[in-house]
Structure formats: C-alpha cells, structure tokens
C-alpha cells in the first residue's frame, strides 16, 4: 500500500513512570511523544527524524491542573481541552480560556497537550504568548531532579527550548498574586484567517491594578504576550514597561499597542504582509488590555468601565 505521508522508521517505547521516561530519554536522538499532534506531522515531513519516541501519554501524574501554595500548577500532559474545561484555571486566568477557545479545533484540543505546545516552540504557538503574559515558570525534570526556568527564558528560538537531552517538561506554574486593590484580570485576542487556524497575530494581557488614595486606579503590573509576530520570547517588554504606573484607560492601552507593534518583528508570509501584522499587534494588544482591565474592575467589585 502506497501512502502519501508516513514518518520514517522509528522505535517506540511507552513510559510507565516519569523515571522510566527519563531513563529512556537519556539515549541520544529520542523524543518525547505527547499528543503527537505537532511531532507526527513534523515526522511525516522529515522535519523531525528521531530514532526513538518515548510515549508519555500514560503518565497521569503529569496531567493535573491544581492550585497549590499560591500557584496554578498545570501538568505538561494536560490537554488543551483540560485547560479549557478547568473552572479553576478560568477563575484565576481567563486568558487561558480565551486562548484555548481558539487553539486549533475541538478534536485536536482533546489530544494536543500544554507541554507539547510549549516544547514545540512554534513561533505562532498561542500558549507560549499566554504563559509569557502570566510570568509563568517551567518546571523541567531530569534524572538529577527538577529545575525551574522562567517561561520568558524557556524558548531559545523557533523550535528550540532550554530542555536538554534526558529532560522533560513536567509542569508549568503560574503565580496567582494575592488580591490586588484595583483587581487583576487577563485576556487573549487572536486574529486567524479561518476558524481553527494559526494566528496571523495574537496578543495576551495580564493586568494588576492598584488603588490610589484619590480613588483612581493605576497599573501596578502589566504582562503582555505576543505570538506569530517575532516578538522576543513572545513578550512585549517595552509596552509592559510603559504601562507601569499609568491609568488603565483607552489612551494608555492604545499607546501600549503602538509600542508593542513598533518593537516586534513580523515577517510577510501567506498570512499577511508585515504592516498588516503590525496593525494587528497594535489593535489586539489594546483590545486584550481593555478586556483584562474590564475583568480586573469586575474582580475588584467595581462597575465595569465603559467600553
């Protein structure tokens, strides 16, 4: 039987525990197989040609989503659908629900994992931007134990992460800050050419607002993640810096959007020309910030600001 696209020859092992997986991964040219929804297409195209796959799908210990010691802990093997269905995640970080609603399609979301998304390090991955906005930390496990790497240092470039041979991503931890005086909120905004497609551009925002004696609120901290537009580490650092201490109003958000658009590096491709992508960055950043601020105001028990 002639097939159009099949992976090259490969060995397959199913890990029965994390330790077993780590032992298998110490061999050169092995790859973790999670949902396989990025890796198998890459193998069909010979963009990846590992000698051995280590299937971690049976490792339930890597798939929980829980709140622990002020951190939302998301197992690397949690599926996109698990994160989307997690009321806990949605309560603390609506940005994850916004993003997961527009990652691929419902069937792909049942299999693709959070860890696979981050480790794939595709420059258009939605969760990379969402986690960057939340200042998350990656917990990487090796035979010598765990090491923690800020998600903003996790990606070294397209399809490259800091994970070394013999290691795997165990979980992602997102700090849940204590109640901010002015509330905190988050949101994700994406434009794609059609339902279920990769982003032309997308922006995620996390805001912590502080109350001022006069009754006004100011931005205590802003996190802004961008994807598909060549932003370094998926972050709009200059825009975040600009917002600190400013009023959470449309004017600040529009300016932050302009700054984000100026400092990213989109390239023209079949999804659009560079100037269009910059335009989207400005607009989507401002929209995500506006929505995050609206949610922060709600969280603080205030009347939502006018749209």
């Amino acid at each position: 039987m002639l097939y159009m696209q099949v992976p090259a020859h490969v060995e397959y092992e199913r890990a029965t525990s994390v330790d077993h997986a780590l032992a298998l991964l110490s061999r050169p040219d092995t790859r973790v197989l999670a949902g396989g929804h990025s890796l198998i297409p890459m193998m069909k195209l010979r963009l990846a040609q590992p000698e051995m796959l280590v299937d971690i799908n049976g490792l339930a210990e890597l798939s929980s989503i829980k709140l622990d010691a002020g951190q939302l802990r998301i197992g690397a093997l949690a599926r996109h659908a698990d994160l989307l269905d997690s009321a806990l995640a949605g309560r603390h970080f609506p940005i994850f629900h916004d993003a997961e609603r527009v990652v691929a399609d419902p069937i792909v979301r049942l299999w693709g994992t959070v860890g696979g998304s981050l480790c794939q390090a595709d420059p258009s991955e939605d969760l990379s931007a969402a986690f960057a906005a939340t200042h998350a930390t990656a917990v990487i496990r090796g035979q010598d134990g765990d090491r923690e790497v800020p998600i903003r240092e996790f990606h070294l470039g397209p399809y490259q992460t800091v994970i070394a041979q013999g290691e795997l991503l165990a979980e992602v931890r997102v700090p849940v800050a204590g109640p901010a005086k002015g509330g905190s909120g988050s949101a994700y905004e994406k434009v794609a050419r059609r339902v279920g497609d990769w982003s032309v551009a997308a922006a995620g925002a996390v805001l912590r607002l502080d109350g001022k004696p006069g009754g006004n609120t100011v931005i205590a901290q802003a996190g802004i993640g961008l994807t598909a537009v060549g932003a370094e580490h998926f972050v709009a650092a200059e825009a975040e810096e600009y917002l600190r201490g400013r009023a959470p109003d449309d004017e600040s958000f529009a300016a932050a959007g302009r700054i984000a658009a100026e400092h990213c590096h989109p390239v023209a491709d079949q999804r659009g020309p560079e100037d269009y992508k910059r335009h989207l960055v400005a607009e989507l950043t401002a929209r995500a910030l506006r929505r995050a601020a609206g949610r922060a105001a709600l969280a603080a028990g205030r009347a939502g600001r006018k749209k």
């Binding site: 039987m1 097939y3 159009m4 696209q5 099949v6 992976p7 090259a8 020859h9 490969v10 060995e11 397959y12 199913r14 197989l33 396989g36 929804h37 198998i40 297409p41 193998m43 069909k44 796959l53 299937d55 799908n57 691929a104 399609d105 419902p106 069937i107 792909v108 049942l110 299999w111 339902v195 279920g196």
Partner: protein, 164 residues
C-alpha cells in the same frame, strides 16, 4: 522492525505485528480492513479519519497505531448495532446529510461524541464541534440539520458511550 499492537476495535480485540511508524488510520483500514474511516488530507485538517480512541474522537492520521496499543478504538462500523442505525446515522439519512460521503464517517463519530456529552446541542454548538472537519461537498447546512435531527430523535440509546 515490528512491534505487537493489540487494540480492541468495536469490541473485538485485534493484534497485529506492525512498524511503530504505522499511523492508526492505516492500521484500521489496511491491517483490519475497516474502510469506513477515511483518509483524506493526511495533515490533521479535514477530519475524515476521525475515530474514537479511548472514548474521545481523534484524527487517526495524526496518531500512531502503537499509541493505541492496549486501548479501545471505535469506528463508524460500530454505530449500527443489530441492524439498528444510530440516531446520528438516521439523521444523516433523513436530512440528506451526505453527498459524496467522504467526510461522513468522521462527521458522525464527532456528532455521536457531542450528543453523548450534550444531548441537545444548538446549531452553534454543532458547528463548533465539527469545526475541525471539512465537507468537500460543502454540505454543512444539512450536516448540522442531521445532528439536530438525531438530538430530537434520540430513540433508545442502547449503547451509550459509557457501556462500550
């Protein structure tokens, strides 16, 4: 180099010696001869290869047969039981839900899964559920109507997913 893969498909256990690189869709179609599941785009975009793996729909062109070893697969052949069509199949008949039929098995497997979780989905929920699947004949209106028909005529669900 081959490995033994044992999969329970539609209630029957099959074991085959296959290469680890074999995709699940080819295992189902060519090793087992169950050709109701189709193989279309090969790039996880069209959903004509959708089957259930451990009770959840999956695009079988994007997982390895090896990953299904020891697990349960359900294909479109299992929708009909004892000569009785599943309400989803009846809906596709009643509402002209197929033209060439290429996308149909995948659409029906996703529809069955949707209805098991949400017995009364509205049009938007149906469209969302099948949004990762392509009908090359563009018969989406009738596919949505077919699934609505099945929701309105659940009949006697003799084989809900939990008992499989």
């Amino acid at each position: 180099m081959t490995m033994r893969v044992a999969v329970t498909v539609n209630g029957t256990e099959y074991a085959r010696d296959v290469e680890p690189r074999l995709l699940l869709i080819h295992f189902i179609r060519d090793e087992l001869g169950l050709t109701g599941s189709h193989w279309g785009c090969d790039t996880s975009n069209c959903g004509s290869c959708v089957v259930w793996l451990d009770r959840k729909p999956v695009k079988a062109c994007t997982v390895l047969a090896a990953m299904a070893d020891g697990r349960i697969v359900r294909t479109v052949e299992d929708l009909e039981r004892d000569g009785r069509l599943d309400p989803v199949q009846q809906g596709f008949v009643a509402c002209h839900g197929l033209q060439c039929g290429f996308c149909t098995s995948g659409m029906m497997m996703t529809a069955r899964w949707l209805l098991d979780r949400n017995p009364d989905p509205d049009e938007a929920e149906i469209r969302e559920a099948i949004s990762g699947q392509i009908c090359r004949c563009t018969g989406y209106e009738n596919i949505v109507r077919s699934v609505r028909w099945a929701a309105q005529n659940p009949g006697n669900p003799e084989h809900p997913a939990e008992t499989l």
